[in-house]
């Protein structure tokens, strides 16, 4: 079974530039998550989708971050404009169960490492 795919693996940009990350979850997984992991910290949830609807985006900095999940499958996370403090690893995860009836594990991708100069 293929795992969660993410791209790009690494990205270096100047502050105020824009960047986009792509995620393809495990086939059949209804719930998709984007986490931000700053060096030395645990993953912080940015946004959670159930199929193509948003379940939680309370910690997403909406003035600069946006995310979408078209057709309930792939997802894109965009940052525009980027700030120095956005330097982090952006992890995508998926789970089989629907939100509100969670009963299992999260499957993570390898992450996209962003460096903002």
């Amino acid at each position: 079974e293929a795992g969660v795919a993410q791209s790009p693996r690494y990205k270096i940009i100047e502050k105020r530039q824009s960047v986009a990350f792509w995620c393809n979850p495990i086939s059949g997984h209804a719930t998709l998550y984007w986490y931000q992991q700053i060096l030395g910290q645990g993953p912080k949830l940015l946004i959670q989708f159930q199929n193509n609807g948003v379940v939680d985006d309370s910690q997403l900095p909406k003035d600069r971050f946006s995310a979408e999940r078209l057709k309930g499958v792939d997802s894109t996370l965009k940052i525009q404009p980027a700030k120095l403090e956005d330097s982090a690893v952006y992890l995508c995860a998926s789970s089989l169960e629907l939100a509100g009836a969670f009963d299992g594990e999260l499957f993570f991708g390898e992450g996209s490492r962003l460096t903002v100069l």
């Binding site: 986490y35 949830l45 959670q48 379940v55 999260l106």
Partner: protein
């Protein structure tokens, strides 16, 4: 708001010994708690899930306990090996069970 606390100091142990990692939480009573392993440059990998009505769960050399009175989970690795060296993350669900939040993790080093 919910808080998860894991020992920020790295844990160094000798091969063959039992490693014990602690996860404390406040301001909430989660329905379940999970443990993940994360290697440098990789995404977290699920290890175990324990529910609020379970006191203990085992999987091979791994054991997790869940004390809802103390608001604490202990994660044990018996007969530890250098390959067990990694960061271990504690995670729990939030109100309504709609999302999973993570602690900062504890780095484990197992010396041969």
């Amino acid at each position: 708001s919910q808080k998860i606390e894991q020992n920020s100091e790295a844990l160094n142990i000798q091969e063959g010994k039992t490693a014990t990692l602690t996860c404390n939480y406040t301001n909430y009573s989660p329905a379940y708690l999970q443990w993940y392993r994360q290697d440098p440059g990789r995404g977290p990998v699920f290890l175990l899930l324990i529910r609020e009505n379970e006191k203990e769960k085992r999987k091979e050399r791994l054991k997790v306990t869940f004390d809802t009175t103390l608001k604490q989970s202990l994660f044990h690795i018996t007969a530890s090996q250098p390959a067990d060296s990694a960061t271990y993350l504690c995670a729990l669900d939030t109100t309504g069970g709609f999302k999973t939040i993570f602690g900062a993790g504890t780095r484990l080093f197992v010396k041969a």
